[in-house]
């Protein structure tokens, strides 16, 4: 007899499909006109559907859908889930209310970042961690001595990101009333015999939502959104457009903007929350957490690095460029950059040695090797440390959101 329900693939046969397909694959592949794919967390995902400029433009002017399924997800449940997460991460989890989300990082003993991610409090003793890298062994080791269950649930959740100024209007047309939903809050709706949870979160720095459901509801949800959003020009976007948007928003990505402590091969590549200018999240009063002693010592002694936004002359993108002080001394490197169509500036995110991030930031230069018809054109361009995010529209946080 054949099983009628879809089964999970036999893990022993992984070699036949080195990259998995997400539950939205029938729709994403149909929309992928460039056939431009890249790996993400073991899945094949769209880098560009048809036109990078149009995709990015839709994020800032219409409504876009991005397939979030490969994001690594862990479920943390149990009587001591909050105590466990308080010891694991740097923020104070007891301040996170049921139905809320916060951004956080977690460190190793040396106070170096293992990963960053968002923490969803689904119920009193029920949390979900969303992050870029897999590190279940670390999460399980950290659970020793706590009454808590930790499991990876990446495959059990199908998620879409609906981002753009018209995203609220699309949801309204789709029958989801999220008018009162504030940023970093979530709420659940019945959908097609199942349920979809909508959180006001995202990675674009714009008005936007993330929709969470089970894989069996995935295609119905996609179709429902596209049917409702036609009038607002809803369209899928790939990772390339999202990367531009997140750079404008000043958000970081693990392994692009910092190397996680458990993966770094070179001793000097690891970064602390201070190095990444994320120390504002640390709750020093909540009790012990992983890396606390090391971070206290670093707070005392000072940090080597700072993470800053740069505004660079010209319009040539400065990805991975080296930063110089006075055109002579190396003082940092750029991890993300683009010419921003939104703010019309040449922007970048960068690691800069202290104090060149602030007190001595006057005389910074970026060396760009621009490939022009098989020859590098070497540019030395002036760079200014500036505020992040580069783009922060009021519509992002307005509640109720605007009906554009």
């Amino acid at each position: 007899m054949r099983a009628k329900t879809a089964m999970k693939p036999d893990p022993r046969l992984h070699f036949r499909t080195p990259l998995l397909e997400t539950p939205f694959h029938p729709r994403t592949s149909a929309a992928s006109r460039l056939n431009s794919w890249g790996p993400w967390g073991g899945y094949t995902t769209v880098l560009e559907y048809d036109d990078l400029a149009m995709e990015h433009s839709a994020i800032r002017n219409a409504a876009t859908v991005y397939d979030l399924c490969p994001m690594v997800k862990y479920r943390v449940r149990g009587r001591e889930a909050a105590a466990y997460l308080n010891r694991l991460t740097v923020r104070n989890v007891t301040k996170l209310q049921v139905g809320s989300v916060h951004y956080t990082v977690w460190c190793d003993d040396a106070g170096k970042i293992v990963d960053d991610g968002t923490l969803f409090r689904l119920a009193e003793d029920d949390y979900r961690i969303c992050c870029q890298e897999r590190h279940l062994p670390w999460l399980l080791d950290s659970a020793h001595g706590f009454d808590v269950d930790v499991e990876e649930v990446t495959d059990d959740v199908a998620a879409l990101s609906l981002q753009g100024p018209c995203s609220y209007a699309v949801l309204k047309a789709a029958g989801f009333d999220v008018a009162g939903l504030k940023p970093f809050r979530m709420t659940a709706f019945p959908f097609d015999g199942g349920e979809v949870t909508i959180s006001r979160t995202g990675f674009t720095g714009d008005l936007g939502y993330e929709l969470w459901t089970t894989p069996d509801q995935a295609l119905a949800l996609w179709d429902h959104l596209f049917a409702a959003g036609g009038a607002w020009g809803i369209r899928p976007i790939g990772s390339a457009a999202l990367d531009m948007a997140r750079t404008e928003a000043g958000f970081i990505i693990t392994n692009l903007d910092f190397i996680p402590a458990h993966q770094a091969l070179r001793e000097d590549r690891v970064r602390s929350p201070f190095d990444m200018s994320l120390d504002w999240m640390i709750d020093w009063e909540k009790g012990h957490f992983n890396g606390r002693w090391a971070l206290l010592a670093e707070r005392e002694k000072g940090s080597e690095w700072a993470f800053v936004g740069l505004d660079i002359d010209g319009n040539v993108s400065a990805e991975h460029a080296i930063i110089y002080h006075d055109k002579k001394h190396e003082v940092g490197q750029i991890t993300a950059a683009c010419w921003s169509p939104t703010v019309k500036r040449n922007i970048a995110l960068a690691h800069v040695k202290r104090p060149y991030h602030a007190e001595k930031s006057e005389n910074l230069w970026v060396e760009i090797y621009a490939m022009r018809e098989l020859q590098y054109v070497k540019l030395m361009l002036k760079a200014r440390v500036c505020e992040r995010p580069f783009f922060k529209p009021a519509r992002r946080t307005a509640t109720p959101p605007g009906l554009f």
């Binding site: 010891r87 190793d108 020793h144 001595g145 706590f146 012990h288």
Partner: protein, 519 residues
């Protein structure tokens, strides 16, 4: 309740040694002992009506000289029923071989002149190497970093002294340092009794067979010990093993230390980022600026402090610290004098027919089984003095290896089998001994853990193996007796240089505390 500068958790040998050294530095010290009397593994107890046996240790061979003289133990009642004990390699046919003096200075028994010569040469070499290692026992292990307060001068002196052996001997030292005892014995010796006894002594109290890598260093460690001023010597305290603990307790009490018995510590109090006190099982809270744990590191961090006050990586290291115990303790109440085919009962009796027998006994426990022919070290306290058993009766105390570890014991069947196999071996060497038994007690590693809090029943509070020695003991990062929580110190056998009735770890810890607070 008067206030104290330091609270020591655990009134065993190391806890008392630490208390003594700290008190002389001018601190007010409180020792908390969960049992009815201080002493831990050094205590004796009545196991059958009228018969008293040493709890775990039944000989003294590693008493730290600083402890012995610094605590003036002889003035506080420690005398010896016997010193310079011989060791007898028992033969099932009565053809015993006796190692006389310190570590077999000379041999008595039927043994060839060549073998005597070979042993003398090997013994000289082992004693020389033990001499090199001995001073390291009294040292705080260094940290592998610059500018972290290592005693560079002292380390340099010891390193230079080691190198001064000369090129050939230094090379030989390095070759021997991490080798297994089985290979060395077969390179140098031929007499199975001698090889059996030495192989047995090397793995006594370890989770190693003679063929396991690094097993020779345990023999060197043994030869680096001292008692009553004599290197590699064995001694039996008058009045039983409890006399050592009693003398230590009397010494610290006389110097002003307060000992509270029946005071089981349930947890540590952490405020801010400091350990500031302890809570007792009764709920009572006691506070002091310095909290010292002389109990097992695993119990200290995983139970008393708890993972939530520690970093995950550190907790992993503590969890992964190996602490398997392979030694069981057997106590027999005998209604008459056993006869080990004429062997002198005022000797340490060892049943280990050859080095192979020791390895075979270890093989079984690797797979969670009981060996067919356990090997053992036997002492009859009643042969040295009265008071241990009714007149004419005897008490036999034996360390029997290798006992199934905690995980294997779950059924009475394996315990029964281990007991029966042990008695069968004893009967072969002392015909009729089983008929003399009027009372008995067998402590398997699981029982030792339950009674003494030694995790896994390991009497070093964590296996003493090369990868858990010196700056790796108990785990990297806290090998200097400190932390990781400020205000918390370690002073137990789980620290360098390990266990035994020694007090070295406790004394070292106290030295470190005194130095740290001064600076």
């Amino acid at each position: 309740m008067p206030s104290f500068d330091a609270i020591i958790i655990g009134g065993g040998t190391n806890g008392l040694a630490c208390a003594a050294r700290l008190q002389t530095s001018g601190r007010k010290v409180l020792v908390l002992e969960s049992g009815g009397a201080p002493g831990g593994g050094a205590l004796g107890a009545e196991f059958a009506p009228g018969y008293r046996a040493p709890g775990l240790a039944h000989l003294v061979n590693m008493l730290d000289a600083r402890v012995e003289t610094g605590m003036d133990l002889s003035r506080h009642g420690l005398t010896w029923a016997a010193t310079d004990l011989s060791s007898t390699a028992l033969s099932a046919t009565g053809d015993h071989l006796v190692l006389e003096g310190a570590a077999g200075e000379w041999l008595t028994g039927a043994v060839s002149a060549e073998e005597r010569q070979a042993w003398a040469a090997l013994r000289t070499e082992l004693m020389d190497f033990a001499d090199v290692l001995a001073p390291f026992k009294a040292l705080t292990p260094p940290r592998l970093a610059r500018g972290v307060g290592n005693n560079v001068w002292q380390l340099g002196k010891l390193g230079l002294r080691t190198r001064m052996m000369g090129k050939d001997r230094f090379r030989e030292f390095l070759r021997m340092l991490l080798i297994n005892v089985h290979d060395v014995l077969n390179d140098e010796l031929t007499d199975p009794r001698l090889k059996g006894l030495l192989a047995h002594d090397a793995v006594l109290g370890t989770w190693l067979g003679p063929r396991s890598p690094n097993s020779l260093i345990h023999l060197l460690n043994r030869f680096a010990g001292q008692v009553a001023g004599k290197r590699a010597s064995l001694a039996v305290p008058a009045g039983g093993m409890g006399a050592v603990a009693a003398a230590m307790a009397a010494s610290v009490t006389a110097s002003g230390v307060t000992i509270r018995t029946g005071a089981a510590v349930a947890g540590l109090i952490v405020e801010g980022d400091r350990a500031v006190g302890v809570t007792l099982a009764s709920g009572e809270a006691l506070r002091a600026a310095t909290i010292i744990s002389a109990i097992s590191p695993k119990a200290t961090f995983l139970s008393l402090l708890g993972p939530r006050h520690l970093d995950t990586g550190f907790v992993n290291r503590i969890r992964h610290m190996k602490s398997r115990g392979g030694a069981a303790k057997l106590h027999l109440a005998l209604k008459g004098r056993p006869d080990f085919r004429g062997a002198d009962l005022r000797s340490r009796l060892v049943i280990a027919p050859d080095e192979q027998a020791v390895e075979l006994a270890f093989n079984a426990v690797k797979y969670g089984e009981a060996p067919d022919r356990p090997v053992m070290e036997i002492l009859l306290p009643s042969a040295f003095e009265g008071g241990h058993a009714p007149d004419g009766h005897h008490v036999l105390s034996a360390i029997v290896q290798f006992a199934p570890c905690r995980d294997a014991v779950g059924t009475d069947a394996i315990r029964k089998r281990y007991r029966n196999q042990t008695l069968a071996v004893l009967e072969d060497h002392a015909p009729g001994i089983t008929g003399l038994i009027v009372g008995e007690e067998l402590l398997l590693p699981a029982d030792i853990e339950a009674r003494y809090g030694m995790v896994g029943g390991n009497w070093h509070h964590g296996e003493l193996s090369v990868e858990q020695m010196f700056f790796l003991r108990p785990v990297p990062g806290i090998a200097q007796y400190q932390g990781p929580v400020p205000g918390l110190w370690l002073a137990g056998a789980g620290c360098h240089p390990g266990g035994g009735i020694s007090g070295a770890a406790g004394w070292n810890a106290a030295e470190r505390i005194v130095r740290e607070v001064r600076s």
